[in-house]
Amino acid sequence: MAGAPSPPSVPITPLLKDELDIVIPTIRNLDFLEMWRPFFQPYHLIIVQDGDPSKTINVPEGFDYELYNRNDINRILGPKAACISFKDSACRCFGYMVSKKKYIYTIDDDCFVAKDPSGKQINALEQHVKNLLSPSTPFFFNTLYDPFREGADFVRGYPFSLRQGAPTAVSHGLWLNIPDYDAPTQLVKPLERNTRYVDAVLTIPKGTLFPMCGMNLAFNRELIGPAMYFGLMGDGQPIGRYDDMWAGWCIKVICDHLGLGVKTGLPYIWHSKASNPFVNLKKEYNGIFWQEELIPFFQSATLTKESNTVQKCYIELSKQVKDKLGKVDPYFNKLADAMVTWIEAWDELNPSPNADAVVVNGTAKAK
């Protein structure tokens, strides 16, 4: 037999350096960027400085960045700045709003470059780009995970009509070392470390919700940006550490409605710092009770077919939050108002003739 054909060369992932911003919330310093330099230096950074605006945050030399502190946020948004959290990393979503790029990657300042099982450093950004640039498969579960990865495909039984998939709106990465546990779990298992490298990217099925973590997250800002509001957390609020959760529930309902996909799995980053579980417990306390109501709320949320843009979906969702969650706690009335403020601010900062025309595949399908 003639020699087997040589394996196809691995396609080069485009850098997208002029199409992607890296958004980093910080309250301390950005020393962690040194380790990321080989991977992040080509990109523009948006740094959102939380806490005391008079403090100077040192950005390592050689990075192209813009930095916003609380004074900047207040100046730019005026009264609408009330929707941006203070003393909580939820403030990062301000960075999504001011970005002018198509894609966003956000990462926490205690996350470092991880190594894969062969010892090679993981270029997390490259993997996120691969995830975002290839379709998702939310309509039928592929048991070999992401069929668009090299060496994989759709399995027997996967309908051909579903094989083009859906555009990927979100790429949710994971963490080695300190896992993203809640406070009670941290207290019970203070020494547990995530050492399992799961070599998979998978699409979260349509109709399934998930706990989205903002530590290592990328998304297509044009497809889903307006829904990535991280809520009212931190100073003056009865809850913290649920910013990314809230955004994750909203974006998933909207992605399912608009026919967009959400991937989870690779890439891994190395999460180095375990936050204080007692401090976390105080922040999460209400959330632990409220999530019992919130998840059924989001699981049963339906949007009308008139909501055919992300902004319209988000406004419709905010009305449902007020109607149904206001009775759980008055906080949700405030949050519903803040959701509307956020969309108003987003549209003001991102005016475009196509602002209302981000319709995917024609019309949005009502659930």
């Binding site: 039928f140 048991t143 996967y158 309908p159 896992p179 989205m212």
Partner: protein, 347 residues
């Protein structure tokens, strides 16, 4: 988390499609030898089966099957012969592995015990109501992540464990034909609960389940006119898996996918299969939307009733599309009848 497996809780059901299963059984001997095996010889196979000594097993041939169930409209040929084993078994769990698969070896050359992994999957809860981003929270070194409601953390009983394959993945004929050299070399160290209402193709190649709970829904109903002995020439397991997933979702049981892997060797020419017909590929376009739309009444609380209801819907909605679906509905009803007969005889 590893559980003590009681040997007498498990039957390993093997469909023998070729006369010599020595390589298969010798390859699995260190793992299979403590269990009872139910070996079903493909009724189409004329030659005698060669079974090495030292296995506690019961063999069923075509004439045994005929003696036990008489003449049945159910087609037990090819890969479908294993379903006879599901009927015959009296154990709590059944695990079935295709006879062209061998155990995977770890980096040190030790055999990975697929039976143990299936049992771990089946004996730990599934979590279908909300996705855990760290995969199976009951695996060692894992847990539920931040944001996972505490009321959902007890999970539900897992009744199906669907494993995967290294080397030859379970591709359909077109994919196999277009990518004849592709081998699955990616070992994904995860077990995942398939979420509620998410449908997936459950492959029968490497599979375990809780017999009494979901057995009635694991049935050889869909037979392609051009079905052959290659896995890519059949869809009866895909149909049965979709049926079982609908039933599991309705009855609030869980389905897991992922580990364990088996090392699959396949042979055969996918182009030859494709030349015959694309039947299966065309039918899946109807089958998947059908199962995604099935809703079962709350009054149905056992698998048998759910399957009968699904059969009625198959006849109504898919029957007009292709005769093969009418036959599938008949087979589903016949299967439930047989299942009930065997269960009542056991009791």
């Amino acid at each position: 988390m590893f559980f003590e497996i009681c040997d007498n809780e498990v039957d390993i059901v093997i469909a023998a499609l070729k006369p010599d299963i020595t390589t298969f059984l010798e390859g699995w001997r260190p793992i299979f030898s403590r269990f009872h095996l139910i070996i079903i010889k493909d009724p189409d196979l004329e030659a005698d089966l060669e079974i090495p000594t030292g296995f506690d097993h019961q063999l069923y041939t075509k004439s045994d099957m005929e003696k036990i169930i008489g003449s049945s409209p159910i087609n037990f040929s090819g890969h479908s012969c294993r379903y006879f084993g599901y009927l015959i078994s009296t154990k709590k769990y059944i695990i079935s592995i295709d006879d062209d698969c061998l155990p995977v070896k770890d980096v040190r050359g030790n055999l990975i015990n697929a039976i143990e992994q299936h049992m771990t999957n089946l004996k730990t809860p599934a979590t279908p109501f909300y996705f855990n981003t760290l995969y199976d929270p009951f695996q060692k070194g894992s847990d539920f992540v931040r944001g996972y409601p505490f009321s959902l953390r007890c999970g539900v009983e897992c009744v199906i464990s669907s494993g995967l394959w290294l080397n030859f993945a379970d591709y359909d004929a077109p994919t196999q034909a277009v990518k004849p050299h592709e081998r699955n070399s990616r070992y994904v160290d995860a077990v995942i609960t398939v979420p509620l209402r998410a449908m997936m193709p459950v492959s029968g190649i490497n599979f375990g389940f809780r017999r009494e709970v979901v057995g009635p829904a694991l049935l050889p109903a869909l037979h392609l006119k051009t079905a052959g002995k290659q896995r890519w020439e059949a869809l009866e397991d895909i149909w049965s898996g979709l049926c079982a997933k609908v039933v599991c979702d309705h009855l609030k049981f869980g389905v897991k996918t992922g580990l364990p892997y088996v090392w699959r060797n396949a042979s055969g020419n996918a182009w030859e299969s494709l030349k015959r017909d694309w039947e299966g590929v065309k039918l899946m376009e109807e089958i998947v939307p059908f199962f995604q739309s099935v809703k079962l009444p709350k009054t149905m609380i056992i698998a048998e009733d759910c399957v009968l209801q699904i059969a009625t819907l198959v006849r109504e909605r898919l029957g007009p599309v292709d005769q093969v679906f009418m036959l599938a509905a008949d087979a589903m009803e016949e299967w439930v009848k047989l299942w009930k007969t065997f269960e009542s005889e056991r009791n």
